[in-house]
């Protein structure tokens, strides 16, 4: 009887194995990698009649295998040429895409979302909101606001180094964390900040630099004077004065109120914004020399401590006081003055402090008074002053922003001076 049982067991095992085999060939969720079209970049533009133009770039597996150069213009970035579809919703657009893409379109590997200016101004959440419910979409996607059309970015993007789309965006985020010229923000932060009361999100900007674009389209034989006509240094997105490189500028910040874009900040203002938010990593900045006109000193700045914020809710107008403690390294000295000398250093510190303070106050007042936009994370810090949510929601913070008084108090210490004491100078 036992041996019979054994046989039966073996038999049933066989049946199970066969069933398993059939299952494994016809399973519901199993999709082979080569059966999917992974969207790596998604661009949103507003179409006519409340429609949306969705531009996608799909990663092409074969392109990764290193055959660069041969198809130089056609498919940069290891992806297909951008495809744009007009639809009512993003999900609808993805379905429609499958009428031209052979494989199942999937957002699982989505690396970035580019939001066109018209979409941003109309309200981002109307478009991105439905995406959040989708399983394939994740909140850790990077996103950029594009002054102009999102599709244009896909067409003109020609990275200097990176070959793959996902790496490209990760590298941009990483590098702007260090330069402070642009914010790094994921869609999760954007959504959370726009949902929170009295907080406004910010977004990094990716802009097409028309001048550089023209250069790449024309022959590269023009002289420097012709192609770089700008008089001054510019930190504005899309207006950087440069030759060669990618035709895109990754600089500046889009400031929102709610989920609607209100204005752009340039690179320097972005640094101020980050400094107020306390998110600035090590960054190098130029400051005019207090003692020699026309000369600049380079200082690397970082937070020595997280900024302290004090807000008096009762006072009218509302008073916002920020105390910052910064730490600096002297990186470059253009003038002939020896800033390693105690007194000179104090002078330099004071001038830098004044400059920063002025710029920060200007920025805050500008945003508060002109737009009532609150991208500085101020309200978050005073949440603890309320005892319940209801109380908090009743407080008319935004109203009070119009007349808010801002004082910034900066404490700067230049601690290190690089590897040289007195500046190198001619005899």
């Amino acid at each position: 009887m036992k041996s019979l049982t054994l046989k039966r067991t073996l038999l049933s095992l066989l049946v199970v194995a066969l069933l398993g085999a059939t299952f494994s060939t016809g399973c519901y969720d199993r999709v082979e990698l080569e059966g999917m079209a992974f969207v790596v970049g998604l661009g949103l533009d507003k179409g006519p009649n409340n429609t949306i133009d969705v531009t996608v770039r799909i990663a092409v597996p074969g392109e990764m295998a290193g055959n660069n150069g041969s198809s130089s213009n056609a498919a940069q970035l290891g992806g297909s040429r951008p495809i744009t579809v007009r639809a009512n919703t993003i999900a609808g657009a993805l379905t429609l895409l499958n009428s031209t893409v052979e494989r199942q379109v999937s957002l699982l590997h989505l690396a970035t979302i580019l939001i066109g200016e018209n979409v941003a101004k109309a309200g981002v959440l109307d478009y991105v909101g439905p995406l959040v419910r989708m399983r394939e979409f994740r909140r850790t996607v990077t996103f950029f606001v594009v002054p102009g059309e999102a599709r244009e970015i896909f067409e003109t993007n020609q990275p200097v180094l990176e070959k793959s789309m996902s790496r490209f965006h990760e590298s941009i985020s990483e590098i702007s964390r260090h330069t402070g010229l642009s914010v790094t923000s994921k869609i999760h932060e954007f959504i959370v900040e726009s949902e929170e009361p009295n907080e406004d999100p910010v977004a990094p900007v990716m802009a097409v630099n028309e001048k550089v674009k023209e250069q790449t389209q024309q022959s590269q034989k023009d002289t420097r004077e012709e192609t770089m006509p700008g008089q001054n240094v510019s930190f504005k997105p899309g207006e950087l004065v440069r030759m060669g490189g990618n035709s895109l500028d990754f600089i500046g910040t889009g400031v929102f109120r709610g989920d609607k874009l209100v204005t752009y900040l340039d690179g320097i203002e972005t640094r101020m914004l980050l400094m107020i938010r306390g998110e600035l990593l090590r960054t190098q900045m130029d400051f005019p020399d207090p003692q020699q006109k026309g000369k600049y000193e380079v200082i690397e700045l970082k937070h020595a401590r997280t900024p302290q914020t004090e807000i008096k809710l009762d006072s009218d107008p509302i008073q916002i006081k920020i105390r910052q403690k910064l730490e600096g390294d002297l990186i470059g000295v253009q003038s002939s003055i020896d800033y390693t000398e105690e007194n000179n250093m104090r002078v330099l510190e004071n001038s830098v402090r004044e400059t920063l303070k002025q710029k920060e106050q200007d920025l805050m007042e500008h945003l508060y008074h002109d737009y009532q936009a609150a991208p500085f994370g101020m309200f978050r810090k005073i949440r603890s002053q309320f005892s319940t949510i209801q109380e908090m929601e009743q407080y008319p913070f935004r109203e009070k922003l119009k007349t808010a008084q801002v004082t910034v108090d900066i404490d700067l210490n230049i601690r290190r001076i690089g590897v040289q004491l007195a500046p190198v100078g001619p005899k």
């Binding site: 519901y28 969720d29 949440r383 603890s384 319940t388």
Partner: protein, 375 residues
């Protein structure tokens, strides 16, 4: 009494903790935030205190009455009819709780991991595994939970810690959230999560050393409370209260949020392990308890023949609600509203009855003694 075998000290602790914590992977944290807003994390603290209080009343009786459990105590103090009624009530509660739990669990698996599969394709293997577990009995379940609970703890902690870059402590402010009223009422209702009191009371006679029960109870209540607290707090700090209210499956959402550089991201699928394990342990334990109680009621010598039947009933019931949303509303309407009465109320009532009886006996003895002396 139906044989279930012995439980070790650590096994019991692991079992009760894992089974009670299982709900954390589903919508409970979201419900907490819903009730308490930014103070949602305080609800588990308050209910933990309530549970401690209840345990402080229940435990001494269990310890004093060596080798007794809820059923035998009940039989002693309230009589056999009440015992049967209580067994049926607990069993029905378990089945009801299970059917919403399994439905939400399978729905969660469908929405998050296997979106194109039909729900029965997910539920059938799940129930098969749970039946196997329930059939192996509480000894086996407790041993597996002892093996796995450190892994669960590591996974859970990893999930919470890897999200540190999103955490903003300010989002757990204002301190009192929706106000103290909702917090307290929520805390009262939320005590139904502390299933461990009931489980320990039911199986206290299976411990080798009866007095271990007390410490196990306190520890498990503490661990469960802290787990809910931590998960809810992290959930609140990563999403704002406003966003947390709107997203079910917090563990899954937290898993999706993990983004630390190029390599450590998009890990949510790996955390499937955690909630499947917890779900299997909770469901199999509850199925086992329900069958065990039914078997007790009908004076069956063994419980195993009922396992399949009860599992199939739970399977059927779990498909009763039309949708995920309806399941949650059923859960809130019935399970959450009345669960505390079963998980806290029954052990409390039974042990109080035991105390009263004991006192009466003592008094009776005292009354008897003088008579004897007199005569």
């Amino acid at each position: 009494m139906i044989k279930t075998g012995h439980l070790g000290r650590r096994e019991m602790l692991a079992l009760t903790v894992v089974a009670s914590v299982a709900d954390v992977s589903l919508f409970y944290p979201q419900q907490l935030v819903m009730r308490g807003a930014s103070a949602g994390w305080m609800i588990p603290v308050f209910s933990m205190l309530v549970a401690f209080a209840v345990w402080a009343l229940v435990a001494p009786v269990l310890v004093r009455e060596e080798k007794q459990d809820l059923i035998t105590l009940c039989e002693k103090s309230l009589g056999s009819f009440a015992t049967r009624a209580i067994c049926v009530v607990i069993a029905l509660y378990m089945i009801a709780d299970l059917s919403t739990f399994t439905r939400t669990f399978t729905e969660a698996v469908v929405t998050t991991v296997l979106p194109r599969s039909p729900i029965s394709f997910i539920a059938v293997p799940f129930f098969l595994v749970c039946m196997y577990y329930a059939k192996k009995g509480i000894e086996g379940i407790s041993r597996v939970s002892l093996v796995l609970w450190s892994w669960l703890a590591i996974g859970m902690l990893a999930l919470l810690i890897l999200n540190w870059n999103w955490m903003r402590p300010e989002q757990a402010m204002p301190l009192w959230g929706n106000g103290i009223g909702p917090l307290l009422s929520g805390a009262g209702l939320f005590t139904s999560v502390f299933l461990n009191i009931l489980v320990i009371a039911l199986f206290s006679s299976r411990m080798r050393k009866g007095s271990d029960v007390r410490a196990i109870g306190y520890w498990s209540i503490g661990i469960i409370g802290v787990t809910y607290l931590l998960v809810t707090l992290v959930f609140l700090m990563c999403f704002s209260p406003e966003a947390a209210m709107r997203s079910p499956f917090p563990l899954y959402q937290l898993g999706r949020l993990i983004y630390i550089g190029r390599f450590i991201q998009r890990l949510e699928a790996a955390f499937v392990f955690i909630w499947v394990v917890m779900a299997v342990i909770k469901v199999s334990m509850a199925v086992m308890i329900a069958t065990y109680l039914f078997a007790t009621v009908f004076r069956m010598p063994v419980y195993r023949p009922l396992v399949a039947a009860v599992a199939i009933i739970v399977y059927d019931l779990s498909f009763y609600p039309r949708s995920f949303v309806e399941t949650i509303s059923y859960n809130n309407k019935y399970i959450v509203t009345w669960g505390w009465a079963v998980t806290m109320g029954i052990p409390l009532v039974v042990t109080l009855a035991v105390r009263v009886r004991k006192r009466r006996e003592v008094r009776g003895d005292e009354e008897l003694d003088p008579q004897e002396n007199a005569s």
